[in-house]
């Protein structure tokens, strides 16, 4: 028997990239199931195309780069595929999903050198690319209908979209402020197929927290910032601004805060940095939602914060043990 001359430490925790990725995938199951429940076969179709697309492209790119294709098993491509799908309307045409997968794997990940080196969240790069390139398709949201497995769908605006339109047309957000908030909580509202149920996403997020795959710093600060800022505007003018509860339950906030902003590679490594990152994501989201051209700002906010992550890391380096701050001498 060969003895191994491995460097210390000889004990290692059982954590692996695989464990992390598959735990996140498990945490996404409730959100995906709710998506399937409300958007039926189309949801399944988009998810399948996206996941298979990402996997095939990942394998292809690895081969092309002359790499071993073992990273296919690490779960990261599947996760990117699922997250991309969850960020798309269930009516997205198949070819468009494939374009998304291509952008995610190629432009989002491998041009930088693959997993670990990408500065931006690949699924979000793809989603924003599609949103800018195909604005109409990307903002036609099928109406949620439990257990409809028919393939024709009626489109419906998202609550955030409707709010923005009302605001532009009439100067007031209108009835939308009074909708029953149980709908977005449970998932019965228009939106991307994986973002509609705050309940399911929070459940998944709590699971990740319990498994210590993520820490509270990013999701909590992200959500609280959105809540507090939209709350302030709402108190000032409830005619023009929706309630903070409405804001945290609608749109892609829960999906973004728990699953996209917490992406290891593209978020800061220090706790302090994560807090700054979460607050930044929240503030940008609110500004886009309330004052920007798009009704929703979660994706843009996260991508913008991704771009400043290296700077945040640089400035939130912990104080090394023994490097005491100079104490001011009181005369």
């Amino acid at each position: 028997m060969e003895t191994v001359l491995a460097p210390s430490p000889h004990l290692r925790s059982p954590d692996t990239i695989e464990r992390v990725m598959y735990t996140v995938l498990i945490a996404l199951v409730p959100g995906s199931l709710i998506g399937i429940y409300f958007f039926g076969l189309h949801a399944i179709r988009v998810m399948l195309i996206s996941i298979v697309g990402c996997l095939v492209l990942e394998g292809f790119v690895l081969k092309l780069r002359g790499r071993d294709i073992s990273p296919l098993k690490d779960g990261s491509a599947i996760l990117t595929g699922l997250l991309l799908a969850m960020n798309l309307p269930s009516s997205t045409p198949g070819w468009m999903v494939i374009v998304g997968a291509l952008v995610a794997i190629l432009l989002g990940k491998h041009v930088y050198g693959g997993l670990g080196y990408n500065p931006f969240n690949p699924a979000l790069v793809a989603r924003v690319f599609l949103l800018i390139s195909f604005p109409v398709a990307m903002t036609s949201w099928p109406e949620p209908k439990p257990f409809t497995f028919s393939l024709d769908t009626v489109t419906k605006a998202t609550p955030l979209g409707e709010m923005k339109t009302n605001l532009l047309m009439t100067g007031s957000i209108g009835d939308i402020a009074n909708i029953d908030l149980m709908a977005p909580f449970l998932g019965n509202f228009g939106g991307s197929l994986g973002e509609v149920s705050a309940l399911a996403l929070i459940a998944g997020g709590l699971f990740l927290l319990a498994r210590k795959v993520i820490t509270w710093h990013i999701p909590v600060t992200f959500i609280v910032t959105v809540f507090v800022m939209t709350g302030m505007f709402w108190v000032i003018n409830p005619q023009k601004f929706a309630s903070p509860v409405f804001h945290i339950l609608t749109g892609g906030l829960m999906l973004g805060a728990f699953f996209m902003a917490t992406d290891y590679v593209t978020s800061p490594v220090t706790n302090k940095g994560m807090i700054i990152f979460g607050v930044g994501c929240g503030a940008i989201t609110v500004f886009i939602r309330l004052f920007g051209g798009y009704p929703e700002g979660v994706s843009f906010a996260i991508l913008l914060m991704n771009s400043v992550t290296p700077i945040i890391d640089q400035y939130t380096k912990p104080r090394t043990f023994g490097y005491l701050r100079e104490k001011k001498v009181v005369a």
């Binding site: 191994v4 059982p14 954590d15 997993l115 490594v269 220090t270 890391d313 912990p318 090394t320 023994g322």
Partner: protein, 437 residues
Amino acid sequence: MKSQFRGGVHPADSKDTDKEAVKTLPLLELYLVSLSQHIGSPAEPIVSAGDKVLKYQEIAKPTGFISASLHAPTSGTVKAVEPSPHPSGRLIPAIVIESDGEDREFDISTNSDPNLEKGPEVWNDMVKNAGIVGMGGAAFPTHVKLSPPDDKPIELMIANGIECEPYLTADHRLMLESPELVAVGLRLTMEMVGAKKAIIGVEANKPDAIETFRSFDLPPDVEVAELPVMYPQGAEKQLIYALLGKEVPKGGLPMDVGVVVQNVGTLAAICEAVTKGKPLVERIMTLGGSVPAGPGNYLARIGTPLSDIVKQTGGMKGPAARIVSGGPMMGQAMTSFESPVLKGTSGLLVFGPGEMKALNQRACVRCGACVRVCPVSLMPQTLGNMVEWNIFDELEQNHINDCIECGCCAYVCPSDRNMVQFIRQGKAEIITRGQKI
């Protein structure tokens, strides 16, 4: 003021041998007393091939201030002074002693102070003459630590009974079986450094050891502190922080905050050196892991080939895939059992195939786990990446030299990055660069 030191990890403590009383290994035929037993310059042999030696006789002298002498572990003949196996994997000169089987002793009574009358100055010389070094693993010459300069007054002596490395139980057994040696050693060192107070620090997974000390009639200035289990609490600076909430300033020593820390094994050796004049020629070590047939705690003479320990304890139950000298977190992996026991060898661990995580080192995914666990508050992932990408210029700015190589960062890394190896490589590069200029 007690605090939790920052970071740290909780590996399963696997103290399977903590109920095994210390057994003495039989006298062997051959001992390899390595000249590099300690931090600092190696010892210089004062015997040569063919010389007859007695047990306890000095066989090598210290060279320079930070060094320690060596003594014969038994009586016999010096066979050679030649490059021999060493846990580091390199061949390092050792004094090879062939035992005559009689174990005749050199008269050590003249150099002792059984009634403790001679005073701290003399005791310090006795410690020096006994070749004592830190037995917790670092192997720093003890007399140096016990001679703080006059401008560093020492208030507190800490007896380190933490033994935070999983598997190791040698200090634990020593505290249970010979607590009086530790207590007397502590008393002596307190006087040597002029400390008014002392704390015996023990982790909560050794309640019987804590009980033992508490049941002693210790003077009121000696406190027994129970600390929660956390690796690497046994590291000096982390222990001081955990007990006092004080940070040893960068590049400094415990004496900079008025503290001296001594491992409990070292304290016992100090007691033996002063009261009986015994040089350090044996130590308790743990034989552990799943493979040895006779795991336990053994009193082994310094220089005992590890292969003999395995042989004398019933051999191995199966194939060895990983052989470690020391603990599983900071110990040195070896390819064979050829090397000998050193003064700092706290354990020999042998693991079978498939027991250790099969590492698949990949790029850092920036999960931040290493940053959270680093007890020194470094950014290990940055250091690892810099070394991997050959960016050596900023390593020092990122305080690489403050890394204590505890391995917490590598322990948690989901990308299985060999962080400690990267960091050692980085430190070595800094040294080579410094020499070029």
